[in-house]
Amino acid sequence: MKSRHAPAPRDPAPPTHSIGLPRPLVDGLDKVSGRALYTADLPFAGALVGRIGRSTVAHGLIRRIDATRALALPGVRAVITGADFSAPYGVIPIAENEWPLARERVRYRGEPLFAVAADDARTAQAALAAVEVEIDPLPAYFDTESARSPDALQLHDDKPGNLERRVEQDFGDVEAGFAAADLVLERNYDCAEVAHGQIELNATVAQWDAEREQLTVHSVTQVPYYLHLMLAQTLGLDGAAVRVVKPFVGGGFGHRVEPLNFEMVTAALARAAGGTVKLELTREETFLTHRGRPATQTRLKIGLKTNGEITAVDAEVVQRGGAYAGYGLVTILYAGALLHALYRVGAVRYRGYRVYTNLPPCGAMRGHGAVNVRFAFESLLDEMAGQLGLDPFALRRANLITPPYRTLNDLQVNSYGLPQCLDAVEKASGWHERRGRLPQTPGLRRGLGMACSHYVSGSAKPVHWSGEPHAVVLLKLDFDGGITLLTGAADIGQGSSTLLTQVVAEVLLLPMPRIRVVATDSALTPKDNGSYSSRVSFMVGNAALRAAEALKRVLVEAAARRLEVAADEIEWLGESCAVAGSDRRLLFADVVQAALVDTGTLTVKGTWSTPPETQGGKFRGAAVGSTAGFSYSAQVVEVEVEEDTGAVRVLQVWSAHDCGRALNPLAVQGQVQGAVWMGLGQALGEETQYHEGLPLRANFIDYRIPTSVESPPIAVTLVESIDPLGPFGAKEASEGGLHSVPPALAAALHDATGLRLHALPITPDRVLEALQQRQRDERLAAARAQRAALAAAAAASSSGG
């Protein structure tokens, strides 16, 4: 269907100067030289050492926390509890139900209970042991079934049935869709909980200026703005008394989108001790802080016509959310919203249940909310393609969207590179020539599988709806001819500072070194909504584009004044400008000088907001999933399966990603490879595990992220669909490739072995069990057939005799 919502294309000048070129990161030199300072590296000599005391009980009432003995130890400067905070916190304004340190009740094992600040680590450790804690245990629930049982105790008083959020969405006539289908299939899928596993440990340094009653916090955050809000709220401070600085950050992947308990705890410790406190979490504690992707059960039913057309979708999703709200209600909404906008679908019914349990809280993780449901969706399509005798590519092609397109749930698709993604991986993998003809050796089975996915380029409605623009960028130009780009966008390794530099350099046709980025210091830089939901390239990129255009207008006008011509006669060449058609020109330094006359240091602003038509529909929860630009992705995975052990080895991945326009092809490739690889980790072996709430894998030995030896080559094709709203046509690049990897791998496993696995991760023991079960079934069937044949023969001989 054609839509009246098509935005006017922006018609950007064809990039020639900086955009579209592979550029190393502007802060890469600091990283490879070891000079880059991450939070734990900051030289705060004499800082007190902070430590957190945690609950050993998964669910219970706090009877007593007595710090008397701890405070008596020499060198102990402060002990704090939940009573030291003014208010609870949470990333979603309507779901703030967590305290930085538990009050009255603990809800998961490892929940922060109290914290100490001491002169050194040994004293802090001794102080932890000296605090006396009494907790009366309550019944605890570690799975969604027991948490939802009618006699289960409520974890939160306002949430009966331990349901944090129930979502019911119906779009179109699902029953009619199934009735019109030629094949209807229903399956259950199970995905284990996974964690971000960023390599940098969590750490915060907080400085409390007791005389001024002001707080400065350096932390590992992806969203300094949320942290700023929650520091002020939980400590009862005016926002202006808080300064938040993000140093270099060693990866995020969603772990650090929410304000996290240890950040507020460090600040409260600094205030209590009247000084500077540095708190570094261990790897075990970093896992406990969690906010990972929830364990997810999906019941999915799809109806298809014989040509592959999707007539109806019915999905029920249950997420094991953990003990607190966090991002949970958004996660369960994403799971339903992104059933749409990848393919044309006839009708969709979605039921989502986010359940509280006595485990560390889940949150946002790369591909937020949509990864596990996409595993189910693509796996079921693969199975149904087999039953219909359709090629998996042909099935996808039967359901393509023509942009501009409005989905059933009011999402706006303005650009759609999925067809080109399909073509690219089909060709690159040699799909038709190689599938079914791969070299097979005894005991080793090889196979190919494919799947598709998509993701948002930033949520079109921000979490805090304040009426402000989505993104603000400032450019400061001064006497030295240097341009300082001031942004709150958090570079967490994805390269946001680099691409913003490229955007400004492109518009002004200036060399990148003329532009310096100052980022993420609330005292200096404009507020930004942060690095999550792949919003930065699209939204902050657009703001940077507009800021650069504003600066260029000022400079062109100044040049025109100096050269005494009209502005439209000026030909802008970057390091110089000229009167068109003449040899009269000014060097950049002269233009800057002219521009500063009478005004001095120049600061221009660029802002950007999502157009209303991209902000989703009017129903409850409609904002989640809405975006100004969807990315698209397709993968082919080739696997080798060892039949004796069940080991699955990925030999190669071919990935194609529609990123709109590759602002920096090198960085975009790196993002896509990282997303694909993280999907492989979830597909092959990653899984947190708990025993009665005790984490069993809170380290990198037991939580196995793939090493270099287990990781395959990942060949990336970038598809440039040139989005009408993206900066230079760009869209997201670092999440959407993840979702399709687990189902492509499962499809490849089926191609290799004939096995359909409906659970993640696809570990060797699961594969081996499935292979052995099939052997047992085959032997049993053969024995039954033999018995039947004998019986038939006996019957025949007796009746004949």
């Binding site: 490879v32 070891g34 390599i199 270099s708």
Partner: protein, 160 residues
């Protein structure tokens, strides 16, 4: 806890510092010598972010007693550049995007440095083997392998 004088040769300089007998090399480098390029990413021997060279061999500084390497040559990421100019390996990691967030990078570069000294022209499998103890969560290792290959190739080109 009793402290003793420790003599450590780090990045070609001899340092004398007081440390207790159970001090870990990582803590001595980071807290004692302010060489914060060497990172800690785990609770001991899990991730490789703290990889340094001891007599040219990669070692995990987080599970190495400082006292055990007295008299041996320690090299950290800070030693690779010459007068502020990057080594070929560092330059390759920079230009080929072997570093995204950069946190595993110092350990990764040191592990690769040890490999290239031993095997100047490694195969892809040799590179992947040599880096198997260094976890990276950003890159999928693709551009890390390419960075090491590029550095090896650049060294090859410089040969007469």
């Amino acid at each position: 806890m009793a402290q003793r004088w420790l003599q450590l040769q780090v990045n070609g300089r001899l340092h004398t510092l007081a440390a207790h007998g159970r001090a870990l090399l990582l803590d001595v480098l980071r807290d004692g010598l302010q060489l914060t390029g060497t990172k800690q990413g785990c609770d001991g021997g899990e991730c490789g972010a703290c990889t340094v060279l001891v007599d040219g061999e990669p070692r995990l500084a987080c599970i190495t007693l400082a006292a055990s390497i007295e008299g041996r040559a320690v090299e950290t990421i800070e030693s690779l550049a010459t007068q502020g100019r990057l080594s070929a390996l560092q330059r390759a990691f920079h230009e080929k995007l072997g570093a995204q967030c950069g946190f595993c990078t110092p350990g990764m570069v040191m592990a690769a440095e040890a490999l290239l000294r031993r095997v100047p022209q490694p195969s892809e499998a040799q590179i992947r083997d040599a880096l198997a103890g260094n976890l990276c969560r950003c890159t999928g290792y693709v551009k890390i392998v390419e960075s090491v290959q590029a550095a090896a190739g650049a060294a090859q080109e410089r040969l007469p």
